[in-house]
C-alpha cells in the first residue's frame, strides 16, 4: 500500500464530506478495501492506494472536485478504465482519483462533417460500434480498445495496430474541453480542425493527465474502407518476419497494419478464448492488413506475396471473410492478457526503434532476456518499429522482480542507443519517468517542465509522472524517485 495516509475522518473530514456532497455518497469511495483496487492500473509493478476515489457524473462535478482538492491542498489524478501500461493513472502521494467511468455519453455524432463529440469515459470500441452503420469508424485502436476510454487515449496519445496508416490519437483529436488544475474550464482547438495560435491540443494529447482533466473530446471519424485484405505471413524465424516488414515499407506500400506475433505469444493466445488457429509451431506470424479501394487490392496482395516469398515465408494465409479477420485481430489484441497463462504478472515494455534495425534489436533483446533468465515474448507493431517485449514474472519473487527491472532498463538503453525512443504509445507515466534522462538533456526536460507549469504550476494534478524530479529533490526524498528505488 501507499506510504501516504488515506484520508480518514480524523485527518480531513471536511474534504471527504465535501467530495461526497459533490458526487454523492455512492460515488465517493474512501474505505481501505475500496481504495485498494485503484492502487494500480495495467502496470502492476507497484501499488499506491489513493486517499479517495470520486466518480463525477459531469463536467461541473469535475470542476467542483478539483476546486475542493485545491482548497484542501490534496493532489488528484484522472483515471479512465485503468488499462494503461505505464502507471499513468496510479495515484502518487495519496492523490484523490477522479474516475471518469460514469461520463460515458456520446454527446453528438455529426456524420456529415465526420466528427463525434464524446465524454471522456466512452469506451474506444463503443464509439466505432455506434457509428458503424454510418460507414464510419474511429481509427486509433489500442489493443485494449474493448475496455479503454477515449479520455485515457487522449492522455496517453494511444496508438494501436492501425497507427501505421492512420496515425495515433493526436491525429484524430480536434478539440478538447478541459478542467485546468485551478478549476477553470477551457476549450482548446476547434471542431473545424484548424485553430489559430499555439497547438495546445497537441500539447494536451499525450500529456498523461499532468495538464488537467479532459471532460469532452471532439474526434475525427474516418470512412470505413471499401476493401480490406488481411493476411498471415507464417515464418519459421522471427527475423525473417522483421525483414519482410522492411521490404514492404521500402516498396512504398502503406499497409493499414503490420504486426509481428512470436511463437511464445502464439501459444499463449491459442490456449485462450481468443484462439484463431494460428500455427503453434511457427517461429512468428506477421499480420499484414491492407485497406483501400477494391480495385487495388489484387495488385497489392500479389506484391506482398512476391516479397514474402523472397523472405522465405512458409505460408501466406488470407482471411476468408470479415469474421475470420475479426478472429485474427481478437487474437492479436488478446495477446497481452493471454500472457497471464505464463506467469502471474506481466511487464509490457514499449520502445520504438528505426525499422531497419528491428531484426538485430530483437535478437539483442532476446539475448538480454536470456541473460537475466526471464520468460520473454514479443508481440509488436513492426510497421512502426514499435517493440513490445513482454516479460512474464511473479512479483512475489523479489529476486526475479529485480531481474525484470534490470533487464527492462538494458532493453531501453539498447533501443535508445540505436536511435530509438523510450515509448511508442504506452506513455512515460511513473514507469519510465526516471529513464527520461537517457533520451533528453536537463535543458530538454526543463523545457517540458515549463510547459507543464504553464497548465499545472504547483504540480497538484497527477504528481510524480513523466518528468523526473530534480536532483536535489531526489536526494532529499529517494522514495519519490519512482519504482526503481521503491520496493515494487
Amino acid at each position: 500500500m501507499s506510504e501516504s495516509q488515506p484520508l480518514s475522518a480524523s485527518t480531513t473530514p471536511s474534504l471527504l464530506d465535501r467530495l461526497a456532497a459533490i458526487v454523492g455518497e455512492d460515488n465517493c469511495l474512501s474505505r481501505p478495501e475500496e481504495l485498494y483496487t485503484y492502487g494500480c492500473d495495467g502496470l502492476t509493478l507497484g501499488s499506491h492506494a489513493p486517499s479517495a476515489v470520486v466518480l463525477p457524473a459531469d463536467r461541473d462535478q469535475v470542476v467542483a472536485v478539483v476546486a475542493a482538492c485545491r482548497k484542501f491542498e490534496r493532489s488528484f489524478v484522472p483515471r479512465g478504465a485503468g488499462t494503461g501500461l505505464s502507471g499513468g493513472a496510479v495515484p502518487m502521494d495519496g492523490a484523490v482519483v477522479i474516475g471518469l467511468s460514469r461520463m460515458v455519453k456520446i454527446v453528438e455524432i455529426d456524420a456529415e462533417n465526420r466528427i463525434a463529440v464524446v465524454q471522456p469515459g466512452v469506451v474506444n470500441a463503443h464509439l466505432s460500434e455506434a457509428i458503424a452503420h454510418m460507414g464510419l469508424f474511429y481509427a486509433p485502436d489500442p489493443s485494449s480498445q474493448q475496455a479503454c476510454t477515449i479520455g485515457g487515449n487522449v492522455a496517453e496519445n494511444s496508438g494501436g495496430p492501425h497507427t501505421l496508416k492512420y496515425g495515433t490519437t493526436t491525429n484524430h483529436v480536434l478539440s478538447v474541453e478541459m478542467v485546468l488544475p485551478d478549476a477553470s474550464v477551457v476549450r482548446l482547438g476547434s471542431a473545424a480542425g484548424f485553430a489559430p495560435g499555439y497547438d495546445l491540443v497537441g500539447a494536451v494529447v499525450g500529456s498523461e493527465g499532468t495538464l488537467g482533466i479532459v471532460t469532452e473530446v471532439t474526434v475525427r471519424l474516418v470512412e470505413i474502407p471499401e476493401a480490406v485484405e488481411t493476411m498471415l505471413a507464417i515464418f519459421d524465424d522471427v527475423s525473417d518476419a522483421c525483414r519482410l516488414v522492411g521490404g514492404i515499407i521500402r516498396s512504398g506500400m502503406v499497409p493499414a497494419a503490420l504486426e509481428v506475433v512470436d511463437r511464445r505469444t502464439i501459444r499463449a493466445v491459442e490456449a485462450s478464448v481468443y484462439a484463431a488457429g494460428l500455427p503453434t509451431d511457427a517461429g512468428a506470424v506477421l499480420i499484414i492488413e491492407l485497406d483501400g479501394a477494391a480495385c487495388e487490392m489484387q495488385g497489392l496482395t500479389d506484391r506482398i506475396r512476391e516479397l514474402a516469398a523472397r523472405e522465405g515465408v512458409r505460408e501466406l494465409r488470407v482471411a476468408r471473410d470479415a469474421e475470420e479477420r475479426a478472429l485474427f485481430w481478437r487474437a492479436r489484441k488478446g495477446a497481452f492478457g493471454a500472457m497471464g497463462r505464463l506467469a502471474p504478472d506481466l511487464y509490457v515494455h514499449d520502445a520504438v526503434v528505426p525499422r531497419a534495425s528491428l531484426p538485430e534489436v530483437l535478437e539483442e533483446i532476446c539475448a538480454i532476456g536470456d541473460r537475466y533468465h526471464l520468460t520473454l515474448s514479443n508481440v509488436f507493431h513492426a510497421g512502426d518499429g514499435n517493440l513490445h517485449p513482454n516479460i512474464s514474472f511473479d512479483r512475489r519473487n523479489s529476486e526475479e522482480l529485480a531481474r525484470v527491472v534490470a533487464a527492462g532498463r538494458e532493453m531501453l538503453e539498447l533501443c535508445v542507443r540505436v536511435g530509438g525512443v523510450l515509448t511508442g504509445e504506452h506513455g512515460v507515466g511513473m514507469e519510465k519517468r526516471d529513464y527520461m534522462g537517457l533520451l533528453f538533456t536537463p535543458e530538454d526536460l526543463e523545457a517540458m517542465r515549463k510547459l507543464r507549469d504553464a497548465f499545472n504550476p504547483d504540480g497538484i494534478c497527477n504528481p510524480g509522472k513523466v518528468i523526473p524530479m530534480t536532483r536535489a529533490c531526489t536526494e532529499a526524498n529517494p522514495r519519490a524517485r519512482g519504482y526503481d528505488e521503491v520496493p515494487l
Binding site: E34, S101, V123, F336
Partner: protein
C-alpha cells in the same frame, strides 16, 4: 482503519487461478455492474483483486468485499473476454462460500434464500407442495395482498407467473420412445423450477427430442442440480445434490446414454461443473451434459415441416453463452423454422438481470441491468423473444409486460415444438 482479521482462506487452486489475472482490464466493459456503477470494485478485475488482497491479508475480508461479491450477477460475461482464462465463476463461488462461513451474508434476503435452497429446493415433494400452496394463495389473490403489506415480496409477486395446476406439474414419464428412425437415447434433467412452473416447456422438450429420433429417459431419482446453492456459496449442498444426480443419471436400467440433456442454461452449466465440484466421480456426468439446443444442433436437427411466420429475437442466457459457450446453435435451430425471421438486437449477450435469485435479492440493480435490454428489444419489436433459461424467461416476461411489449417470451423448444406439430 481496518481491524486486523485473519486473511481470507481460499482454496489454493482457486487462489492460483486469480494469479492468472494480469490486470489488463479487458473484462471491465463486459461487466453489467461496472457499466452501471462505474466502480472498479464492482468489476471482475476489481473483485478478483479484492479476493487476492484479502487472501494476502492486505485488506480486510469484511462486509465491503462480501457486498461486492453479492452485487455480482454471476453472468460470467467476463470469462468470454478474459485472455488469461481466469475461472471467475469458480472464484466467485469460492468467495461467496467464504463470506457465508464468515457470517458476512446478512439480512432477511440471504437468510430466506438459504432456507428455501436448503429446505425446499432439495426435496422434490416439499417443493411441489410449496408450489401448490402458492397456487392456492394466488387463487385467493393473497399474493397481491402480501405484496401490498410486505413490500419486499413485491418483486417476487410480479415475477411469479400463475402456478399451473397440479396435473401440469406432474413428473415426466420415465421413458418416451423415439419417433421415426431411432438415433439413440438421451436423459433429460427436469429441473426443479422448470418442472413446477414450466412443465409445458419440459413436455415440449421431450416431444422435440423424440421427434428427432431419441428415446428420452427421465430418471425418477434425479433432483435439483445445485446451481443456485453453488452460486450462493453453499458448496456442501451443491455437492450433495450433484452426488444424487450422478447416481440417478448413471443407473443403467435404461442402457447407455448418448447425452444428459437440460433445457435450462443455469442447470446445464452446473452439470458441466460437477467434475470440478466432485473431481473424478463427476467427470462422466459433466462430459455428457448438453443443452437441448446444442444437442439438436450437434446431431443435426430434423427440419420441422410447419411454418411459423413472424419475427423473433434470440436473447442469450448468460449461462449458455458465457458459461457453456453455446452461441450459434439456438440461432441455427430457429433459422431452420420456415418463415420465422431471426432479427438481431443490441446486447443479446448481456445479462437480463435475472441471475438465479438475484432479481429477488437485488431488485433495483436487476431492473437497471434489464433496462437497456428492454430498450433494444423495444426498438426491434419482435413477435417472440426467445431464451432458454427459466430465470431469464421470468425476468423477460415481467419486463416485457411492464414495458408493454407485444412480444411473447418463450423457450426455443416451444417454437420448434410448434413447428413440428404443424
Amino acid at each position: 482503519m481496518a481491524e486486523t482479521t485473519a486473511p481470507l482462506q481460499l482454496d489454493p487452486a482457486i487462489l492460483e487461478g486469480t494469479l492468472d489475472c494480469v490486470h489488463c482490464g479487458l473484462c471491465l466493459s463486459a461487466c453489467p455492474t461496472y457499466r452501471i456503477t462505474g466502480r472498479e470494485n464492482s468489476s471482475p478485475r476489481g473483485r478478483i483483486y479484492l479476493l487476492r488482497g484479502a487472501a494476502a491479508g492486505e485488506i480486510e475480508f469484511g462486509s465491503l468485499v462480501a457486498d461486492e461479491l453479492s452485487l455480482c450477477l454471476g453472468c460470467r460475461a467476463c470469462e468470454t473476454q478474459c485472455p488469461a482464462g481466469v475461472e471467475y465463476g469458480a472464484l466467485l463461488e469460492e468467495g461467496r462460500a467464504a463470506a457465508a462461513r464468515s457470517g458476512l451474508r446478512k439480512g432477511w434476503g440471504p437468510r430466506l434464500e438459504g432456507y428455501v435452497l436448503r429446505h425446499l429446493l432439495v426435496y422434490p415433494r416439499r417443493l411441489h407442495a410449496s408450489f401448490s400452496l402458492l397456487r392456492f394463495l394466488q387463487k385467493l389473490r393473497l399474493d397481491r395482498l402480501g405484496a401490498l403489506l410486505l413490500p419486499f415480496l413485491k418483486r417476487g409477486q410480479s415475477l411469479l407467473p400463475p402456478v399451473p395446476a397440479a396435473s401440469a406439474r406432474q413428473r415426466l414419464p420415465a421413458l418416451t420412445p423415439a419417433e421415426g428412425e431411432r438415433r439413440g437415447r438421451v436423459a433429460l434433467l427436469e429441473g426443479c423450477v422448470m418442472a413446477e412452473l414450466f412443465g409445458e416447456i419440459n413436455r415440449a422438450t421431450v416431444r422435440v427430442l423424440a421427434q428427432n429420433g431419441y428415446d428420452v429417459v427421465v430418471p425418477q431419482e434425479q433432483g435439483c442440480c445445485g446451481a443456485l446453492h453453488a452460486h450462493s456459496g453453499d458448496m456442501d449442498s451443491a455437492r450433495k445434490l450433484a452426488d444424487r444426480n450422478i447416481a440417478a443419471f448413471s443407473a443403467d436400467e435404461y442402457g447407455p446414454l448418448d447425452a444428459v440433456v437440460s433445457n435450462s442454461a443455469g442447470c446445464g452449466a452446473a452439470l458441466r461443473e460437477v467434475d470440478r465440484w466432485l473431481p473424478g466421480r463427476g467427470d462422466l456426468l459433466s462430459s455428457q451434459a448438453r443443452d437441448v439446443c446444442e444437442w439438436l444442433d450437434e446431431v443435426g436437427l430434423r427440419p420441422p415441416r410447419g411454418k411459423l411466420p413472424g419475427r423473433v429475437c434470440y436473447d442469450d442466457p448468460c449461462h449458455l453463452v458465457h458459461a457453456q459457450g453455446v452461441r450459434a446453435a439456438p440461432r441455427r435451430l430457429l433459422n431452420a423454422i420456415e418463415d420465422l425471421e431471426l432479427v438481431p438486437h443490441a446486447d443479446a449477450e448481456s445479462c437480463c438481470g435475472a441471475a438465479g435469485t438475484y432479481s429477488l435479492l437485488n431488485p433495483a440493480m436487476a431492473a437497471e441491468v434489464l433496462r437497456p435490454k428492454l430498450d433494444a428489444l423495444e426498438a426491434v419489436a419482435p413477435d417472440w423473444i426467445v431464451t432458454g433459461n427459466p430465470g431469464c424467461l421470468l425476468q423477460l416476461r415481467s419486463g416485457a409486460r411492464e414495458r408493454g411489449l407485444a412480444a411473447q417470451v418463450v423457450h426455443p423448444v416451444e417454437l420448434l415444438d410448434r413447428a413440428y406439430r404443424g
